[in-house]
Amino acid sequence: MNRRPVNDRARTRTRTRRRWRERGLAFTLLLPSLLVFGVFVFYPFARTFWLGFFETDPFGGRRTFVGLDQYTDTLTSSSFRNSLWVTLKFTLLTVPTGLALGLGLAILAHQKLRGMGFYRTVFSSTVATSVAVASLMFISLLSPSVGLINQAIRWFGGEPIFFLQSPGWALVAISAVTVWQNLGIIFIVTSAGLQSLPDDLYESARLDGASAWSRFVDITVPLLSPTLLFGFVVLTITSFQTFGQVDLLTNGGPLEATNLIVFSIFETAFRDFNPGSAAAQAVVLFFIVLVLTAVQFKILERRVFYGR
């Protein structure tokens, strides 16, 4: 049919041409993504570094080169260190809790019982809530006046608890909103992970006499560890990016108790109009996330089992 004889000597040429054609295709297909990433990730990332070297007036007009001053100021300022510390606490409050609760729900729903579809839908329902929605929903529980919890407390004759106005509670409250909002997606992801675990291992373990707890510890956790690691890393990264809850519920207060790092960056850039300082904070944040993720991988990777 379409047989095309090829001269022996033309072989290398043919191959080179083919390779170039592939490369051209690859480039064309990647172009849209590369453009978007280039313009909205790589370029601004570099520019953020650069901005960190300048101090500006609140109106974006005047710029002064200050070298590393803003970086050192950022690193040494007590407010920034507080943000870091708050963010760290927030991460500790949300990530393990979220994972444990999500996994718990997934295990609870991983049974062959009638009506399980309903429970699965319920447990995954919080993915349908956005940060704004979740935050406002929690107002219905936490507000000192309308909040159902405080209504109940008052009804029983107690003093209302100012969840969002007291430094002791505010971060916990923000964390509760976050855990609740994340629950759905963690549930979905861990459920998917559970479903992909082979049944025969559990059956074999039962024959081997393993208790339910031993089956969980010896089989579920190790086999689910890639999913859990994935969840751990992703949740950690997102916890370092939390903004909406704070913006809507506490505005970083009281006493900076909920001044998460991203909120601090945002405030610095768009409320104090100090983009240089914000950029410096952002760069520091980036390196922290980078190091943290690397460390998590290093530490956890050893405990993760990646299949055959």
Partner: protein
């Protein structure tokens, strides 16, 4: 002490009847092979013994005790899964020790037991590898070792060799037989492999669509299949089955096949007459068909030489065309020794068989008719 018996045991999955009123007694120490086509309920039967599936009806006894409601962890048996079900994140040693761990055996003893079992199966150097780093045959042995270390009285194996290549398979087959001889435990072994079925068990149980078709020593099942299903299922190439009209002649009956016919001695006459049927299904194993003189006419379609033997596929003269087939007419396969002279393709031949090698079946019920 640890015989297993099914008593009217059934298992339904919604509409599907996976096991249908199974009655089967497996004495202590027997090596029973369960065979049958895919989906016939072999795995289900095994899983009911293990307690992984609950019977819908009937009971199950192990060692004379009704264990229908006993949890799997409390039945004293070990199972080797088709997939081996090795814990992929544990080393070979941890895999083998796992059943002992849940029984709270002290670590030192556990280790010793695992070593012994591993040595016995030649796993000595592999103890610290993960299953992912083992070949199929090695995995199979780890699964065996894990079962062994428990010293259960009943071993269940669900197609444990199906993932192995031909050579490892031959070897492992032999090892399993040795093991059975050594341990004296009851083995219940599921397979759909002909050779395994014939060579490994003290008895074979043949299942089809959840029903027990026949149970007996391998040779008995091969030589006297209880019905058409067993006849067609056991043996490779399978038994040739040809339908024939029954004509009564004096001193016996005559079975007409295509343009030819077999005359059968008197003894059969009574048996066939008793059933009162007009047509009969004749079964003849390929090795019992002779080319040369004989009452049946045919044409050689293909000659397949396997080196030590030859399979000759013949089309019978005067039989029906089956739509969809590339080849018209009823086909029969003749097994020939490589030493015999080979016919040519397209050659017209005559086929015969000794009467004692014929199997007769009722074509409707499928039941065997014995003289």
């Amino acid at each position: 002490m640890a015989g297993v018996s099914f008593n009217g045991t059934s298992k339904h999955f919604d509409d599907v009847v996976a096991l249908d009123q199974l009655d089967l007694e497996i004495p202590d120490g027997e090596f029973l092979v369960l065979v049958g086509p895919s989906g016939c309920g072999k795995s289900t039967a095994l899983r009911i013994i293990a307690g992984l599936e609950e019977a819908t009806e009937g009971t199950l006894h192990i060692g004379g005790v009704d264990v229908t409601d006993v949890e799997p962890q409390h039945r004293d048996l070990a199972m080797v899964f088709q997939s081996y079900a090795l814990y992929p994140h544990k080393t070979v040693r941890q895999n083998i020790e796992f059943p002992l761990k849940s029984r709270k055996v002290p670590p030192a003893d556990r280790r010793a037991e695992a070593e012994t079992a591993a040595t016995m199966l030649g796993l000595g150097e592999l103890m610290d590898r993960r299953p992912g780093q083992l070949s199929g045959g090695q995995r199979q042995r780890v699964a065996l070792a894990r079962a062994l270390v428990r010293r259960p009285e009943v071993f269940l194996m669900d197609e444990p060799l199906s993932n192995l290549d031909a050579k490892t398979r031959v070897q492992t087959r032999a090892e399993l037989s040795e093991l059975h001889a050594t341990l004296g435990a009851t083995f219940i072994y599921v397979t759909h492999d002909q050779v395994e079925a014939m060579t490994m068990g003290t008895r074979i149980a043949v299942l089809d669509q959840g029903r027990l078709q026949q149970v007996g020593a391998p040779d008995d099942v091969y030589d006297r299949p209880a019905n058409l299903f067993v006849a067609g299922f056991i043996g490779s190439p399978p038994m040739n089955i040809v339908e024939a009209a029954v004509e009564r002649i004096d001193g016996g009956i005559r079975l007409a096949i295509g343009t030819g016919a077999f005359d059968l001695p008197e003894s059969w006459g009574a048996a066939v007459s008793a059933t009162g049927i007009e047509r009969v299904a004749i079964g003849i194993r390929p090795e019992h068909l002779r080319i040369g003189d004989g009452p049946i006419d045919g044409v050689v379609r293909t000659v397949e030489s396997l080196g030590h033997e030859r399979h000759i596929v013949c089309e019978l003269a005067g039989t029906d065309h089956r739509p969809g087939d590339l080849v018209p007419g009823d086909l029969v396969i003749v097994r020939q020794s490589a030493d015999d002279p080979a016919p040519r393709m397209g050659e017209a031949i005559h086929l015969g068989a000794e009467a004692r090698h014929l199997h007769l079946f009722d074509p409707d019920s499928g039941e065997r008719i014995d003289p």
